[in-house]
């Protein structure tokens, strides 16, 4: 097992009102092993997308990654890279797939041009050879009649086809890590399944590590090796997938599970989590989930560190110290 990505104490800040900076990503730590999938789960505003952008120093200005944050890819200290050295790892070490395939492709260039762009950004080869590679990539992501599609403009393709093209582009420089930020959110359910299948197959054949960012616990099960649940800029629970699904321990994670409808088992009411995620300009003091937590108690006024629930399973909740209080 080798570690391809290590993120430690990642903090991303933006300038806020009255000259104070605020921290939409506030101390995120996780790592990724070669060939494995890690899922980053959380609702909108939890900081998961910003975390993924920070991996390649793509945080939009005026945001910045705070000093003290660590991002390592193998021997490379990503946050120390600038200019050309930074460009060389973008796409090459990490490929990214974004949520919306409608807007992530430039409308004025053909699909082929955009895949070739990725290849030529990292490999020296004649254009014709790059086009040949692009054709293979389109085949690999399961696009029928790839030689015609190579000359198509994005608006001539369906959403599912566009997302396949995005995957082909992300793979164009053969990265060892693939970051998929809500890759299926904008797609129909049937197309969703096909896209996930393509991702699974490519991960297998290429031995890539995948960071899957999603709010959908359904696509995490049976796909991710580990799950980290994010809330309000922090990871609040992390464990191997099977363990987390068997024993969701943080009240927020439990809330997420309770708000997903089940097909099997007795009929029961859905229990959505009350309220909504706080704004990053005003994270609550103490435990950040406290204002929405049905199990909050006096100790929740102190900010909890990551505590051990069971071996290889941590959560950011004081209930880890008092397991009998944490029953259903």
């Amino acid at each position: 097992m080798s570690r391809v990505l290590e993120v430690r104490d990642l903090r991303v800040s933006f300038p806020g009102p009255d000259h104070r900076r605020f921290y939409p990503v506030d101390g995120v730590t996780f790592s990724l092993e070669r060939g494995k999938t890690m899922a980053l789960v959380g609702e909108s505003g939890s900081g998961k997308s910003l975390t993924s952008l920070a991996l390649l120093q793509l945080v939009p200005s005026p945001g910045r990654v705070e000093t003290g944050s660590v991002i390592r890819m193998g021997e490379t200290d990503v946050l120390a890279l600038r200019g050309e050295a930074l460009r060389r790892i973008r796409g090459r070490r990490v490929g990214m797939i974004f949520q919306d395939p409608m807007t992530s492709l430039n409308p004025v260039f053909t699909v082929g041009d955009q895949i070739v762009e990725g290849i030529l950004a990292h490999f020296k080869m004649p254009r014709a050879a790059a086009r040949e590679r692009a054709l293979q990539l389109l085949q690999e992501v399961g696009i029928p009649d790839p030689s015609t599609r190579l000359k198509a403009y994005p608006h001539q393709l369906s959403g599912g086809m566009r997302q396949r093209v995005m995957i082909a582009i992300a793979l164009s420089a053969e990265p060892e890590i693939l970051v998929a930020d809500e890759p299926t959110t904008a797609l129909d359910v049937t197309v969703q399944a096909q896209i996930l299948e393509v991702l699974d197959r490519l991960q297998e054949s290429r031995g890539m590590a995948v960071l899957l960012i999603t709010h959908d616990l359904g696509i995490v099960a049976g796909r991710a090796d580990r799950v980290a649940v994010m809330y309000a800029g922090q990871i609040v629970e992390e464990a191997p997938t099977a363990r987390l699904f068997a024993n969701p321990s943080h009240p927020y994670t439990q809330g997420l599970f309770a708000s997903v409808p089940r097909i099997k088992g007795p009929l029961r009411r859905l229990n959505p989590i009350g309220g909504s995620i706080p704004a990053p300009t005003a994270w609550p003091s103490g435990c950040r989930f406290r204002p929405r937590c049905p199990k909050a108690f006096d100790k929740s006024e102190l900010e909890p560190p990551l505590l051990t629930v069971e071996p290889d399973h941590q959560m950011r909740c004081w209930l880890a110290e008092e397991p009998n209080k944490n029953r259903g």
């Binding site: 793509l58 939009p60 790892i89 004025v108 762009e117 950004a121 582009i169 992300a170 420089a173």
Partner: protein, 279 residues
């Protein structure tokens, strides 16, 4: 090129745009082929005859040196349009370059360039031009083009920069960055094609402005130098015979009005095509 062709086609479907485009086209064709078909604008067949009213041999009459006014107006079109097109091309190139770099790189570069532009915009363009031209006697046409071009890009750079600031946040620009595309490539491939539309509108309207500017300078005797015919210079010459031979001033004046009006009509139609909300 697609967005440019689409915008031009849409402006052509616009009734005013089509009128403007047709007149501009006629003026341009006349400017290109006219001087070959008409008498030499410098020849003075009968200098003692002086100015003759419009008639069979000279549809627009002759000026006080007995030169054919029609052929002077047509040759003047070649010079005025040529100066305007080249100067505007220079302004647009400079404005686009500064706007793209400033908007995309941001930070210190952006701050420095934009303060420079703020400063330049605070000085009236005509003032700078008058200052240089008053000192420079008999300025060559090429120098005039460079001077007008180099003083005309400030506002354009701000328009382009504003557009780039918006485009920079587009998902496909971020996707290209995540892919490791080079800066140069992002600027030329992803940003430039998307600012061509607004740039085209600015350029068309600027052509009208520059024709007026050049005519004004030539009228003051500071622009195109005689004996080269220019519309502004012809009006200057006609000043002395305004009452006895009004045609010497009326025809170049009409040429200016019609050309500038057409450029503005076409520019407005283009603007509607590129940005329908602004209509």
């Amino acid at each position: 090129m697609r967005p440019v062709l689409d915008a031009l086609a849409a402006a052509w479907r616009h009734p005013q745009g089509r009128v403007g485009a047709l007149i501009l086209l006629i003026v341009a064709v006349a400017a290109i082929v006219g001087p070959w078909l008409l008498p030499d604008p410098l020849s003075q067949p009968d200098i003692l005859a002086g100015s003759m009213p419009p008639g069979l041999g000279h549809p627009f009459g002759t000026d006080q040196l007995n030169r054919d006014i029609l052929s002077r107006v047509v040759t003047g079109a070649r010079i005025s349009l040529g100066v305007a097109l080249l100067a505007v091309a220079l302004s647009m190139t400079l404005g686009a370059a500064v706007g793209l770099v400033s908007g995309y790189l941001g930070g210190v570069v952006d701050a420095a360039l934009m303060r420079l532009v703020d400063g330049a915009l605070a000085i009236p363009r005509l003032f700078i031009l008058l200052l240089v031209l008053a000192v420079w006697e008999r300025v060559p046409v090429l120098a005039l083009i460079l001077l007008i071009g180099a003083t005309g890009w400030f506002a354009t750079s701000r328009i382009v920069r504003a557009e780039v600031l918006r485009l920079r946040e587009e998902a496909y620009v971020r996707a290209a960055e995540a892919l490791g595309a080079r800066r140069r490539r992002i600027i030329f491939r992803h940003l430039l094609p998307n600012v061509v539309g607004p740039l085209l509108v600015t350029a068309t309207l600027a052509v009208g402005d520059v024709i007026l500017l050049e005519a004004g300078l030539s009228f003051l005797g500071l622009g195109i130098q005689p004996p080269l015919p220019s519309w502004g210079g012809m009006i200057l010459d006609s000043k002395e015979v305004l009452v006895s031979a009004p045609w010497a001033g009326i025809f170049p004046g009409l040429a200016i009005v019609i050309t500038v009006l057409s450029a503005n009509l076409f520019g407005d139609a283009l603007r509607d095509a590129v940005d329908p909300r602004g209509a």
